[in-house]
Homo-oligomer: 314 residues x 3
Amino acid sequence: MTDQLDATGKLRHLLTLDGLPREVLERLLDRADALRTPAQGGTGMRGVLAGKAVCTLFFEPSTRTRSSFQLAATRLGADVLTFDASVSSTTKGETASDTLKNIEAMGVQAFVIRHQADGAVAALAQDVQPGTALVNAGDGRRGHPTQGLLDMLTLRQAKGRDFSMLKVVIVGDVRHSRVARSDLHALRTLGAGEIRVCGPQSLLPDDDTLQGCTVTQDFDEALEGVDVVMMLRLQRERMQEGLIHSLADYHRDYGLGMDRLRRAAPDAVVLHPGPMNRGVEIDDAVADGRQSLILRQVANGVAVRMAVLEELLG
Amino acid sequence: MTDQLDATGKLRHLLTLDGLPREVLERLLDRADALRTPAQGGTGMRGVLAGKAVCTLFFEPSTRTRSSFQLAATRLGADVLTFDASVSSTTKGETASDTLKNIEAMGVQAFVIRHQADGAVAALAQDVQPGTALVNAGDGRRGHPTQGLLDMLTLRQAKGRDFSMLKVVIVGDVRHSRVARSDLHALRTLGAGEIRVCGPQSLLPDDDTLQGCTVTQDFDEALEGVDVVMMLRLQRERMQEGLIHSLADYHRDYGLGMDRLRRAAPDAVVLHPGPMNRGVEIDDAVADGRQSLILRQVANGVAVRMAVLEELLG
Amino acid sequence: MTDQLDATGKLRHLLTLDGLPREVLERLLDRADALRTPAQGGTGMRGVLAGKAVCTLFFEPSTRTRSSFQLAATRLGADVLTFDASVSSTTKGETASDTLKNIEAMGVQAFVIRHQADGAVAALAQDVQPGTALVNAGDGRRGHPTQGLLDMLTLRQAKGRDFSMLKVVIVGDVRHSRVARSDLHALRTLGAGEIRVCGPQSLLPDDDTLQGCTVTQDFDEALEGVDVVMMLRLQRERMQEGLIHSLADYHRDYGLGMDRLRRAAPDAVVLHPGPMNRGVEIDDAVADGRQSLILRQVANGVAVRMAVLEELLG
């Protein structure tokens, strides 16, 4: 695989959190934390990427993630090119690599790529020029590293930098979730005290992914005393695929309501990567309650993406 | 309903022209008039919203209205985020309110929202932070306030600020038209001398909307001596719905040609919100004739939207 | 037809390369050549079109061409409005001319237009205000002048400014290709030594287009000793239309592999307008080989479009 770090330990691409050294991860989080205010607007950082171009190249649609990257790049002064590859040349038989190299040839210095296939972004990283940086904005089930980073930033702001005493549970469709995989990588690297994974058997991943985690199908048990509840989105397709029986059953067994949340530590926090299915995996009272950090995650997303783009191109 | 004015009488949101005080309406029109030249381009006003972000959040597509707002925001120096909610997260089961709050959390200070449901934008205004401003760019049949403002600006430029002697006719599918409702609100507030409403019975609205208007189904009669003819677009769906018999019949009874226009005052002006169905509600000779202010309306649209965004965020 | 030059010989529109004087063509190429570095990024030229707006108005989708124009306009400092007319007002019954005049009224100074109909852009040029410039970004089979220019720039960089000794072959679906037509116009104007056209009978154009060309259906023969091979994209629709028998047959007869390329001059160069069908009209070894100028074409595309926009609006 393409090494995502150069000889000096600086990021060349951001492809995965798997194996990303703790000092790099913490450097990015520190920088993102410092960027919280500029991430909400202002013109103070427009010089950082002025005259550079960032392309969002999405082979699978995701308006929210794309928008977050777009605002991050804009606030650093970059020109942003939105290339919706799900409706474009690729439908004319062009390979993803050719699409990428074409836009690169137009003078684009960084690509934010989402792709439906595991490892697709790392594969594309083989094809670009030395100065061009790729950011994985989600590849198959494999990873979504900036989501992992923004989740860690959100936890750090709420719980402090030392994760060694933290009990964290990740709940839901872990099997199909790139968010869960990136969170697991980052939580391990940052030394989280205990990581529990909870979901129905049909939505649990292979043992490799679960390494070092406590696994249970009983949500009530999984919540006991945790400091952090990371909910996952349930794709409605899982029902058609026969992986869950019904949304009502799923809600009964794995939906997070206030009653259930009381099993966690009193100051436990709740995260969700969005978009939420209210009334399925999460109830209104939790989503909008005082323990929810969901909108804080979104705000941190812009800061994290600014920190990543700045390190890659700045 | 959320009050769209703050304690000092400044706009916090622009949700409707219904009940908007005359002084606010006239202040916006005065400012828009002063912005006519910058509304056509240039960099002189880029400082006004520099570092702020405006999101066009359209749950129903409308490229023209979106483009007009985009140019207005850009010419004030804002960053513009285009969020096509008709093809996005909302299709993944997310509520409109969650979509809005998510983008708001990314550091967006104003939203320009189009939605298919009456009152949707006012409802969303309940959910945002105190500093965030919403502009209704069309909600169901309820209203399209910036269209109403640009129509008034166009009339003022043509006929002067005093509307008390003006005879105005609004023609066509008034029942389904948010443009007509916003025009009616503004014309009443500005004290138009006489307001006539004309269309087939099946396309006339309820009595509430028609308050204070002279109503007729006879277009020739309705045109007698008017100073202003406000044509409405006929949605072709009205035929499938059985509300009109045929486009040819509609054109015969409610299409505006030169012959008919001669019944109006010699210096009468013609408005149309676009897009036009030439040969249905309006003939080429009128659309492109010396009495048509249709392209002037479009130009004024950018100025009005700059004035609104400036008051909301400036 | 609207003259695309004003009285002083300056471009008012860029509609076609057919009949464009050699000095204008060479002036644009010289300027584009000088813009190679700024075309890859930077802020040095942002003043050229600052405060002006360029609209890409595509009645037929083409993300790559649109992106190239967008980056060119952005690097000159223009505001860029993307108007996807294939999903917009036009579907509501508005004429292309009304769509154009509406956006023009919003204060847009130049339009980059793609349309499926031959001559559509030249027709639209009749309807705009004197100060508004149109660039044809592809109209039907008729022409794609900036592609022709970027191909010529690429050839000039590889082979020098004097084309009189050059042997060029254009291969493939010449009949349906606007690229081929623009290349033919430019090659003739620049005095190319010999122009060969090669493809199956069913994909050859009329005699008018072929004027002055050597025509053959035998690709091997056509390649003998040429300095330049201009490959065309094969639209897969041609098979459904019965114009070609199968992709495999097409590849056997008209696909360019390394073996075949050896018939050309040893320093022959290969061009392709993209997107490529690898394994159909071109093999990997050629597309990615040392004789391929395909990515150089793409890079030159931004420079050419900057030169054109600068001359039209600067």
